[in-house]
């Protein structure tokens, strides 16, 4: 009886995620001709900009720079997109929240899942670039590492978005803060530079940024098929910390969404 209740609840949540993800997907591409191309255009253009800026003009000493950039920019795109859009998850779906009772945290979660699908279908592009640089395009370990990283990144974004989307219902300033934060986090993450270029003394401060270990992990996985346990540990600490805060904030304000959005 008790088990059946839990089973029903999980089933219902899966159904909700299905319809919400489908909805977000449709809305994202309504009226666009190039559809999916747009989701990879952004990181590809950024790659080009960084390549010209840092490799050709400033002449950084990093090998395979395009590959180096791309393996970081695709996961970054997922993070920044989900954070920017997820912050509006409750406000954008007020017509649903005002009418029906369902676990509202599934709204930002669905946004994150949509962006994770985008990231998943851009992995072949990463493999293509690996091929051009004469690197192995597949490691057997990926079958374990990549799903795990999907789970971890989803959890990380979810915990942060839970805070930002909840507060955004009450203070629309949060959106401005988030756009600033996204820019700051991007420069504080090893996207166009590598972690070992940072002075040893400053490194601990960089680890305060949750995306720092995340990008490190992705790059190591794609370029070397390695999984860095230290970065994993820091990332887990970040997830637990932010998830705890997100949970408290969400629980505190969730009941007022219907009357405040």
């Amino acid at each position: 009886m008790f088990l059946k209740k839990i089973f029903n609840k999980i089933n219902r949540n899966i159904d909700i995620i299905k319809v919400l993800v489908y909805k977000e997907w449709i809305i994202k591409y309504k009226g666009t001709y190039l559809g999916y191309i747009w989701s990879i255009a952004h990181p590809l253009i950024l790659t080009l900009v960084f390549y010209v800026g840092f490799k050709i003009i400033m002449k950084v000493q990093i090998e395979n720079y395009v590959l180096f950039l791309i393996v970081a920019l695709f996961p970054w795109q997922w993070f920044s997109n989900s954070l920017a859009i997820g912050t509006w998850a409750f406000i954008a779906n007020q017509s649903l929240i005002k009418k029906m009772v369902f676990p509202k945290y599934l709204l930002p979660l669905s946004n994150i899942i949509v962006d994770s699908i985008h990231f998943a279908i851009s992995i072949p592009i990463i493999m293509l670039v690996l091929y051009f640089y004469n690197k192995p395009i597949f490691y057997l370990q990926w079958l374990l590492y990549i799903p795990l990283m999907f789970l971890l990144q989803t959890l990380l974004i979810f915990s942060i978005v839970l805070i930002s989307s909840t507060l955004n219902v009450f203070y629309r300033d949060i959106d401005r803060i988030i756009s600033l934060l996204i820019m700051l986090i991007m420069y504080a993450s090893p996207i166009f530079y590598s972690a070992n270029m940072i002075p040893k003394k400053l490194l601990p401060f960089f680890y305060l940024n949750p995306v720092f270990p995340l990008v490190n992990l992705w790059r190591d996985i794609f370029m070397n098929g390695n999984f860095n346990l230290f970065d994993l540990l820091i990332l887990l600490i970040h997830i637990i910390f932010w998830l705890a805060i997100g949970f408290v904030v969400y629980k505190k304000y969730e009941a007022f969404f219907a009357e405040r959005t």
Binding site: R12, I27, S95, K99, V101, Y171, A258
Partner: protein, 251 residues
């Protein structure tokens, strides 16, 4: 014996309001300082800057009853439905609801304008708590009942308000609700569909399904409801048989 009776009574009452008070925070009045302060405080006396929507209201609705709610705009009728549906939480008192609640049936609420009828039925149905499988089984029946066959593949932003009301009404009624909450939807449909709606609701009444109807049209209420609650100034002014309340209300 006494215990047994109490238990029995609990099952009979589908909806129970016990001294329910609902206040809304007025917008733009919370400062950051207050917000941070309030975060660590329990939800208590933050009375200033609050708008009283329902003032200490008590009533109960039995299974199978059809109850109309009347009152001026802004008197708190929709707040009552919101509280029953569970989307709103009372500030004081208790709201007890003992069945699956169907949603608030309001115009255009709960739909996404860029999705077509099928997709909206799935979205709406699942969020109402119906299994996706069951919705798929009933989806054509819903479209047919709403008489939207021609437009079923169009995004619903192209629909008229009457068509939206029809879609909303069909979804809720075709998915076996136990308790119907209806907030002024009958007004927009054409007379033919309105008749269909009323007939459907009369059928529900026969099947002992509880109906709560907010309406400004006394005729609809007369046809459907056995009992009317008149909300005035955020309080219950009258709660009695339909003709008795309506006679006073229409004065």
């Amino acid at each position: 014996m006494k215990l047994f009776l109490q238990k029995g009574l609990k099952i009979v009452n589908v909806v129970e309001f016990i001294n329910v008070t609902k206040k809304y925070t007025l917008f733009h009045n919370i400062s950051y300082k207050e917000a941070i302060f309030n975060f660590f405080k329990k939800e208590k006396i933050k009375n200033k800057n609050m708008f009283l929507a329902l003032d200490n209201i008590s009533f109960s609705i039995k299974k199978g009853e059809a109850v109309g709610i009347v009152g001026k705009n802004g008197s708190g009728k929709s707040t009552i439905l919101g509280l029953i549906a569970g989307v709103l939480k009372p500030n004081g008192g208790k709201v007890k609801v003992s069945t699956n609640v169907s949603p608030l049936l309001e115009l255009g609420g709960g739909f996404h304008p860029d999705l077509n009828a099928y997709e909206n039925i799935r979205l709406n149905g699942v969020l109402l708590g119906v299994e996706l499988k069951k919705i798929e089984k009933n989806i054509d029946k819903i479209i047919e009942f709403a008489e939207l066959n021609e437009f079923k593949n169009q995004p619903i932003r192209t629909y008229s308000s009457g068509m939206l009301a029809r879609l909303g009404f069909s979804i809720v009624t075709q998915l076996d609700p136990q308790l119907l909450l209806i907030d002024e939807v009958l007004a927009v449909g054409d007379s033919k569909f309105r008749e269909k709606c009323i007939n459907t609701m009369l059928d529900f009444k026969k099947k002992n399904i509880t109906i709560i109807l907010v309406s400004h049209n006394p005729d609809d209420i007369k046809v459907l409801c056995d009992r009317v609650i008149w909300i005035d100034n955020h309080k219950i002014k009258m709660d009695d048989k339909t003709d008795i309340v309506l006679r006073e209300y229409l004065k």
